[in-house]
Each structure stands twice: as C-alpha cells, then as structure tokens.
C-alpha cells in the first residue's frame, strides 16, 4: 500500500483564479458604507470646526476642542436634552412592560381577538407618524376640553410621554413576539414537570429565554423616543425635546454643540450595538465549542 502511495506523483497544486466579478461585492459594499456613513463623519468633523461665530457654517477650519469644552454652555439645549432623557427612560420602561405582555400573549395563545390585536400592532407601526401625531394632538385637545373623570393631558411633558409610550409599545410587542414564537413550549412543560409552579416556570425559564427580545425592545423604544421629532412636534406645547430644539435653531443656524451631542449619541449607539453583537457572538461560539 505505502509503496504505491510514495510512487504516485504529488497532487497538482491548483491556483485559485480570481475573476473580475469577484470584486463586485467588495466594491459595492465599500461604496454603500461610504454613502451611508459620510453624513455621520461630517457631523463628527464639524464638532471640531474652528469657526468665528456661534453658529455652524459650511466652511470647515481645522480644528478646535472649544465646542466639546462648552457642550453644557447652552441652557436651552441642556433643558431639551434633559427633557428628552426624562421622557425616553420612563416611556421605554412603560412600553417594555406593556409590549412584553402583549408580545407574550400574541406569541403564546390562540384567542378570538388575536387577529385583531395583531392587525392593530401592525397598524401602529405602519401608520404615518404625521397622521398619528395630528390624531394624538386632537385627542389631547378633546380630552382637555371634555375632562372625562376630571382627567386632563397638559401639552408638554405629559403629552410627550404618553405619545412616546403609545408608539413604542408596538415595536416592543413584535420583538418579544418573535422571541416567544421561537420558544419551545415543552421547556415550560419540563419546568412544571420539575415541580415549578406556572409563576416560577415563567420567572426561571420563560423570562430568561425571552430576555434578549425584551432588552432589544427596550433599546428600540428608548432610541425611538430620543429620536422622535414628528409626533413630538405636534403634542409638545411649549416644551422642547432635543430633536424639536435642534429643528427650531436650524432656522437661524445650528450651534456647533449640536454636532458634539450628535457625536455623543452616535457613540452611545455604537457602543450599545457593539456590546450586543459581542454578546451574540459569545452565545454563538459558546454553542459551537
């Protein structure tokens, strides 16, 4: 056997030829990244623009850290940022609680109103924001006029918060629903088989397994709230959030601090995405090992 093997000629080495078509994908990918990311690069860059006045201009002069040092120097901007955050946290928490509940119900049970609820969730996402915003505004105005059970919704923080909760719920619900649908129901059977009451089974098995969906839903709701302009602009009364304030200043020129804050928010987003990617990677490689 081995004598035959040594007598045989060595295997032919194959040269991998690259056809020109194999460059299409990398070139296209590079172009797309450039196209999508260039506004972000410009934003980051203009945070360092060494300009004479207090308003952003198109001419870029390199370079200064003064806007980073003075990022807290505009009281109106500070107030708007604070409003944005004090809306985003509670609205994301409330939307996560309610959306998780709806997602569990939709992913789990067959009941008579299920199709309707699914459709409503779909509508809530598909409906144009401009329509939703004006509808919410007229509803708040109506409520304030009719005062059912003495309730009012002052236009400002309260109306912004309620609006943000309402448009975020649907996004949380579909993220959680997807997770619940992928869940093996026999796991809950197994938990009960091992003496867990339904409540304990939910807490020890179901919740940990749908947690990635819940967290993703929360982050989505948080970002949607921070970012929302259209709906907020309808219902905000005299109160500004970060987006509405920036939009207001854009008429007379945006202060460079806006680019600084834009950069900060962008980095926070990148960081979050990075962490969740790393976690997903850890989970996957953990499985493969």
């Amino acid at each position: 056997m081995s004598a035959v093997a040594t007598a045989a000629p060595p295997p032919v080495e194959r040269v991998r030829r690259r056809r020109w078509t194999s460059f299409i994908l990398p070139v296209f990918t590079g172009a797309m990244i450039f196209y999508l990311a260039s506004p972000v690069f410009l934003m980051v860059l203009y945070g360092f623009n060494d300009l004479a006045g207090e308003r952003q201009v198109a001419r870029f002069t390199c370079c200064t850290l003064v806007w980073w040092r003075q990022m807290f120097e505009l009281p109106d901007l500070n107030r708007a940022l604070r409003t944005s955050l004090t809306v985003a946290f509670p609205s994301a928490i409330a939307a996560t609680a309610l959306g998780t509940f709806i997602g569990l119900v939709l992913g789990r049970y067959r009941f008579s109103g299920r199709a309707v609820l699914n459709f409503v969730i779909f509508l809530a996402i598909a409906i144009p924001e401009i329509v939703l915003g004006s509808a919410l505004l007229s509803m708040y105005v109506q409520v304030n006029e009719m005062r059912p059970f003495g309730a009012t919704v002052p236009l400002g923080y309260t109306s912004i918060l309620l609006s943000h909760i309402s448009f975020s719920i649907a996004f949380v619900a579909i993220t959680v629903r997807a997770r619940v649908q992928g869940l093996d129901r026999t796991l809950e059977n197994a938990a009960q088989d091992l003496f867990a009451t339904p409540a304990v089974a939910f807490w020890r098995v179901t919740l940990p397994l749908i947690l990635p969906g819940v967290v993703a839903g929360f982050l989505l709701a948080f970002v949607l709230s921070l970012d929302d302009f259209v709906i907020t602009n309808f219902v905000n009364g005299q109160t500004d959030t970060f987006p509405t304030w920036v939009f207001g200043t854009s008429k007379i020129g945006v202060p460079p601090q806006v680019n600084v804050w834009g950069t900060v928010l962008f980095l926070a987003g990148v960081l979050t995405a990075g962490v969740s990617l790393a976690q997903a990677y850890r989970r996957r490689t953990g499985r493969a090992a």
Binding site: L187, A190, A191, Q192, R204, G286
Partner: protein, 375 residues
C-alpha cells in the same frame, strides 16, 4: 403481588372531534418497565401526558400510588418525564438543569450537590456539570434529561420516545443502558415507543395501542408468540397471515383450519380467537418455518405448505425467502445462516413446514391501513 403504582380507569381524551385516547384502562405495577407501543398518532403521548398531568382527561380517572391525581397539576405529581426533544433548559448549565427539580423542592444545598453528582455518575456523565446543553451531543443530552428526571427519585418515570432522535448504534447501546439504570434504581418506567424491537428488548410488559385503545397487553413473548389481533401480528415483527376457515376443533386440543390458498393446517384450540368459528387468519412467524426442497416430506405432525421460491435474499446472519404457494399466498421465511445446508434458489419448488404450536389465528380486521401493517 407488587403494588399497583399507576392506574388509568376508563380514561378518554378528546381534542375537538379527534378521540386521542378511547376508554383506556391500565394497571402498572411498582418497579415495572412498561411500554406503550403503537404507530404514530395512536395516542401514546397523550396517554403519557395525562399521567404526567399535562393533559386533563375528558373522562376517567388517573391514580398514582392509589391516590386520585386526576385534578393535580404536573408540579404536584410525584412523576418525572424524559421528553422526546429532551427539553433541556438552554440557558442553564448541566448542573443547574439536573438540580432544577431539587431546587424547586427546597432541598438543602449540600444535598443537592451530592444528589446531582450521584445522578451524573448513574448516567456516566461526570465532569460535564459546567457545560451548556448545546455543547453536548444528542446522546449526552439524552443522558442529562434522564439524570434531571431521576435525581428527583420519582415514583414513576415517564419516557416519551427518548431514543427517537439517536442513530441506530447509539440507540441499541442506550436501550441496554436504560434497562440497567431501571434495574439499578428500581423506579417504575413507562416507556413510549413506536419501535417494536425496542419495546420487546426492554419491557416487562407491553401494551400495543391503536386508535387510542389497547389492542393487546402482555409480556413481550406472549404478545409476539400469540398476537391477539391481526394488527398486533403485523405490528410486532414480520408475520405470515393466511386466510382460512375453521373446520373442526377436535378433542386432542388441536383445531383444523382450511386455508383459502390450499391445504389445511392445525393449531392449538386455545390459539383461536375467542368464539371464532368462521373466517380467521392463520399466522406463523417467519423464523418458525423450515424450508426444504420438494419431495423431502417433513414429519406428519407438522403443518405443511408447498410453493415456489420467488425471492432469496442473503442478509448475513440469515437467509430470507419469499415463497409463493400454489393457492397464490405469499410467505416469508427466515433461515438462520448455519453455513451447513444448501439454500434453495429462486424458482425452486419447496416444502414449508412448521409446528402446530407455533401457529396462531386472529380475526380478520378490515380497516387496517398499509401504514399500520408495517411494524
């Protein structure tokens, strides 16, 4: 007489129009290895799930250790289940999976550690405690599922086709392992399978199910050697079934049946289905039949049928023949490969003989589908 551990009393389960389990009664003794055997969809899983508490019977009563548990939820029943899909908790490591039931029962920490270690040793998985289920092979996951159930020392262990996902070799090995473990721990096992060989290898008793009912219940040997119905005869191993009519039942304990396909055969009277007088199907297992070239008449006290070999297959441990009788019936014959005799070739005329005691008879069942027929 050992205690009755599990009793189903006239249990029925309907899902809408579908009757999954149909007026089924069953007694399983303590320490028994009991199998529910039957084709897919016959109600095995539903029966098991009613014992476990995952389904409520539409009618009837479930007893565990003499106590009526029909209305108790799963987490208050002293049984544990090995699920077909294993249903290991993917977010917990092996140790926590196995410890899950003990933690719910508030067993002290150091006792948990001891008992988990013991269970891991029982299923031969020591050293795997820190792994996630997804980091283990199918066979190992299967053992974890077993350990997770056994560690609770339940009265009864329910197993729903636990080896279904394993390849053949691993399956054979796990069959023996399961049997060993059952004997070691002495717990009652209720084992669901659609694999007749598996059921026969491991069980003390087998219930053969069809359409939500038990067709026959007995020890493997009894069920195999003397099937009660045509369905059971077809489902457990290969069998030759020949149509015929009961002619006489004489005093010597033997009955004579005239085959539609030709000669008459004899069989013990007690092998006839109760009260059968008219049409029956006479059966004999392929390995009980001897095959010889034509003209070599066998002893007169054996049943004899002549025919022609239509197919001859060599499968290592044995030869397998298909023989067509003059009357048009087809019989299968297995001959152990002893290497001594010349085996008949295709087209050769042969004589088939077998003992009357190896003959059984069943009532013809009209509604057998071909799928059910293949065991």
């Amino acid at each position: 007489m050992p205690e009755v551990d599990v009793r189903l009393e006239r249990v029925t389960k309907r899902f809408g129009e579908v009757v999954a389990v149909d007026d089924l009664s069953l007694d399983i003794a303590e320490g028994e290895f009991f199998s529910l055997l039957g084709p897919s969809g016959c109600g095995k899983t539903t029966t098991l799930r009613m014992i476990g508490g995952f389904e409520d019977p539409t009618m009837g009563t479930v007893y565990l250790g003499g106590r009526d548990v029909t209305d108790l939820p799963p987490y208050r029943r002293d049984v544990n289940t090995v699920f077909q899909s294993y249903a290991l908790f993917p977010h917990l490591n092996v140790f926590e999976n196995v410890a899950f039931g003990l933690r719910r029962r508030k067993v002290p920490k150091d006792e948990i550690a001891t008992r988990v270690r013991e269970a891991m040793r029982l299923v031969d998985l020591e050293g795997f405690e820190e792994r996630r289920p997804a980091q283990m092979s199918g066979g190992q996951q299967q053992r974890v599922a077993l350990a997770r159930a056994l560690v609770n020392r339940p009265k009864v262990l329910l197993l729903d086709e636990p080896l279904g996902a394993l390849d053949l070799k691993l399956r054979k090995q796990m069959q023996l392992e399961l049997k060993r473990i059952q004997q070691e721990v002495g717990i009652t096992f209720i084992y669901v399978t659609h694999d007749q060989e598996e059921a026969m290898t491991m069980s003390n008793r087998i219930a053969v199910m069809r359409h939500g009912r038990i067709e026959q219940l007995g020890e493997p040997e009894a069920v195999y050697e003397n099937p009660a119905t045509e369905f059971v005869a077809g489902f457990l191993g290969a069998s030759n079934l020949l149509e015929g009519e009961v002619k006489e039942t004489n005093g010597s304990g033997l009955a004579t049946v005239l085959l539609t396909a030709g000669p008459s055969v004899r069989l013990p009277v007690d092998r006839l289905p109760a009260g059968a007088t008219g049409r029956v199907k006479v059966g004999v297992r392929p390995e009980k039949v001897s095959i010889a070239p034509e003209g070599e008449a066998g002893p007169a006290d054996r049943n004899t049928v002549t025919g022609r070999v239509t197919m001859s297959t060599y499968i290592g441990v044995s030869h397998q023949f298909k023989v067509q009788t003059a009357g048009g019936a087809e019989l299968t014959v297995y001959v152990q490969n002893l290497g001594a005799e010349r085996s008949p070739a295709q087209g050769e005329s042969v004589v088939l003989t077998w003992k009357p005691e190896h003959t059984f008879a069943v009532e013809p069942q009209e509604d057998l589908t071909s799928e059910e027929d293949e065991g």
